[in-house]
């Protein structure tokens, strides 16, 4: 059995990539992601990892290298943060449309302007419609496990996967975790095989101009047009939820960890108040939940959302329907509207007869401290029986911890 070690979240990610036997790594430095690629280049240079390291001149090119390598049938990885993710945005859409199973760690950080190197989720949220699968880890062990599972998911459904984890909170803190045994990883994650891999023996022209309508190929077989290909991406992305659950079950048989791949509920069974959050903040809420139950007799629970895209709407609706209050805390928003996750959850609940009271909180942007005490106070205050707000006030995000 492997032994637990204490390392940073970024090193945990690099170890997972090493164990996954990624063969082409391309990356560009950006805080707080940089230690991931530093570690990978160190592992490769020291001969402890057999891969190509390409020190590109930009994030746009980092994803381009991954696109080239994956199109040729080789497992590729990159990592980035913040503006780096946005700089490769065009390539993200390309990789998804090209159905390439690239895995990327995004060490979540606020977006400029103004510059911030600290954590929030706006980078990932801004790319939610790129066609990537987006998962969020909430501790170091999940960074390792999710990254390994992400390679298998990406290669099974042919959709790229973004493994998100919080900058500094997870990337730079040292926590114990158990690196999986290399031989078992090999059994869990078979070598990448891509049937459309670029090859002179079987020449194919990939990502050519595709017309609005379906067209016959030279054999007279009808081939879908752009819209049909995009429809397939959407449909197969929806199916990825089940595939992710299957992968998690298999991961459990190999490594004994897992069981909550899509949502991770804590004390939610009888909860009247359910908090929904992504990333490390969901773990922070466990303390809040315990205190609300113990000190105030409020039956609270926290539901960590591990998979944001594809959005597990039906699963969330089932989990949240019986609650009186659902409180969505998030570190990003759709400016001029509301929290992106809040909007998704509201939309998921709409078709169902029982709709809990919804609350939206924006917290921790650009690394603004998130005191557990203020999470506790806001949650407690918001579910007080005498505090019923009219829709015009309840359906707008409340900003926590402003220092205006």
């Amino acid at each position: 059995m492997s032994k637990a070690i204490i390392e940073s979240g970024n090193v945990a990610a690099a170890m997972a990539v090493q164990l996954a036997r990624a063969e082409v790594i391309a990356a560009y430095p950006i805080t707080p992601q940089t230690p991931v690629t530093e570690k990978l280049s160190e592992l490769i240079t020291a001969g402890r990892m057999d891969a190509e390291y390409v020190a590109v001149e930009s994030e746009h090119s980092a994803m381009a290298v991954c696109i080239g390598a994956a199109s040729a049938g080789v497992r590729a990885f990159t990592a980035t943060s913040s503006n780096g993710l946005l700089y490769m945005s065009e390539q993200l859409h390309w990789a998804a449309g090209a159905r390439l199973p690239i895995v990327m760690c995004v060490v979540n950080r606020g977006i400029g302007a103004p510059w911030s190197v600290w954590n929030d989720h706006q980078d990932a949220i801004s790319q939610r419609d790129a066609g990537w699968i987006q998962i969020f880890a909430k501790d170091h062990q999940e960074i390792v496990d999710m990254t390994l599972k992400a390679f298998r998911l990406a290669e099974l459904v042919h959709i790229p996967v973004m493994v998100n984890y919080d900058g500094y909170y997870l990337s730079h803190t040292y926590m114990p975790f158990e690196p999986p045994d290399a031989e078992r990883v090999d059994a869990f994650l078979p070598a990448y095989q891509y049937k459309h891999a670029l090859s002179p023996e079987h020449p194919e022209s990939l990502n050519t101009v595709t017309l609005p309508d379906a067209r016959l190929d030279v054999q007279g077989v009808k081939r879908g047009g752009y819209m049909d290909l995009r429809h397939n991406l959407h449909e197969e992305m929806g199916m990825a939820i089940e595939v992710w659950e299957e992968i998690d079950r298999d991961f459990q048989t190999h490594f004994g960890r897992g069981g909550a791949p899509v949502t991770d509920p804590y004390r939610c069974d009888d909860a009247e108040v359910v908090i929904v959050a992504m990333g490390s903040m969901a773990n922070q809420f466990r303390v809040v939940v315990d205190r609300l139950r113990q000190d105030d007799g409020i039956r609270a629970g926290v539901l960590a959302l591990q998979m944001y895209r594809p959005f597990p709407g039906a699963m969330l609706a089932r989990a949240l329907q019986s609650a009186k209050h659902v409180m969505v805390y998030e570190k990003g928003l759709s400016y001029g509207s509301q929290g992106a996750l809040y909007g998704d959850i509201k939309s998921a609940l709409y078709p169902y007869p029982s709709r809990p009271q919804l609350h939206n909180f924006i917290v921790g942007l650009g690394g603004r401290e998130i005191p557990t005490e203020s999470l506790y106070q806001t949650t407690k205050t918001s579910c007080a029986p005498d505090r019923i707000l009219p829709p015009a006030q309840s359906d707008v995000p409340q900003w926590i911890g402003l220092q205006l």
Binding site: A64, P200, T208
Partner: protein, 301 residues
């Protein structure tokens, strides 16, 4: 490295790598280059192509005019995608050539950062820039290499006021393994420079002047005559740079002994795009060419 025996129409391979019929305009200089270039490159190649006339020429899904494996990618990232494909080939233990083939906009403007990175890293790829001196695929807008005075849809009436980028010189400053300039009007010279490039490790850059009938305002049958005129007037020079040493080649080398090259006016007057050129501009351009060629004569004699 010595150039092998020259390829002629008699010993050029008869094997075709492009299907008959494609979407190029009639008289397209690129279609000459593509057909002959593939004969030099052979089957063991993978192409990386950004948005350009070549994207359209190679065929629209699900039909391909090319017989080669092609990875179409985003505009700005051609050299980086090629880097990824080449890295994959190394991982797979395959000697397959990776050939990036982009236009002048895709190379000198939006793609220059990725290309500069690949040059600095010394990536083992062939990069071909077919330079038709404007954004032709989108309908003739000015690019970084559009020559001064040229009419385009974004430099109407009086032509482009700025001097075009000397892209080969920018590439040469990166000290590539091999650099060559070529012309669509001398396809066998292009062919043989590709044969040479295939033997060299590192980044091989071929810059190919490519006349474009609709963009330049010439009759379809004038493509070859135009490209030749560019070389024979001394406006576009054929050369190679290896180990930092520049050497004129082909027609440019042959005319080194001629003190009287064809006047640039002949080349300019063949094209609608230079209709706004004034007599003063012609004289200034002629003076530039004369000075450059005078330098060549001192340097290479």
């Amino acid at each position: 490295m010595k150039m092998a025996a020259k390829t002629t129409v008699l010993n050029l391979t008869e094997e075709e790598f492009v299907h008959p019929g494609n979407r190029a305009c009639s008289g397209c200089g690129l279609s000459i280059l593509y057909r002959i270039g593939l004969k030099a490159l052979g089957r063991d190649c993978i192409f990386v192509v950004p948005p350009s006339c070549l994207t359209v020429m190679q065929g629209l899904f699900p039909i391909a005019a090319t017989q080669m494996p092609v990875l179409n990618g985003t505009f700005a990232s051609t050299a980086a995608i090629a880097t990824g494909v080449k890295a994959a080939m190394r991982r797979l233990g395959r000697p397959t050539q990776v050939v990036a083939w982009a236009g002048d906009g895709g190379t000198s403007d939006i793609g220059i950062q990725a290309l500069s990175g690949a040059l600095e890293r010394g990536e083992d790829i062939i990069y071909i820039c077919y330079d038709n001196e404007a954004y032709m695929n989108t309908g003739v807008q000015r690019s970084g290499t559009t020559p001064q005075g040229s009419l385009t849809t974004t430099t109407p009436f009086s032509g482009k006021s700025e001097v075009g980028k000397n892209l080969p010189a920018i590439i040469a400053a990166h000290n590539p393994a091999y650099l060559a300039t070529c012309s669509a009007s001398y396809p066998l010279d292009f062919h043989d420079k590709l044969l040479k490039a295939k033997q060299i490790k590192g980044l091989k850059y071929l810059h190919v002047q490519t006349p474009c009938p609709p963009g330049w305002g010439i009759e379809e049958h004038m493509t070859v005559a135009l490209g030749r005129a560019a070389v024979e007037t001394g406006l576009f020079d054929l050369y190679e740079i290896e180990d930092g040493r520049m050497q004129l080649t082909g027609q440019s080398l042959q005319q080194l002994g001629n003190t009287g090259l064809r006047p640039v006016r002949e080349y300019l007057e063949m094209q609608v795009r230079f209709k706004a050129f004034s007599d003063e501009q012609v004289a200034a351009l002629q003076a530039q060419v004369d000075q450059r060629w005078s330098g060549y004569r001192d340097r290479f004699k």
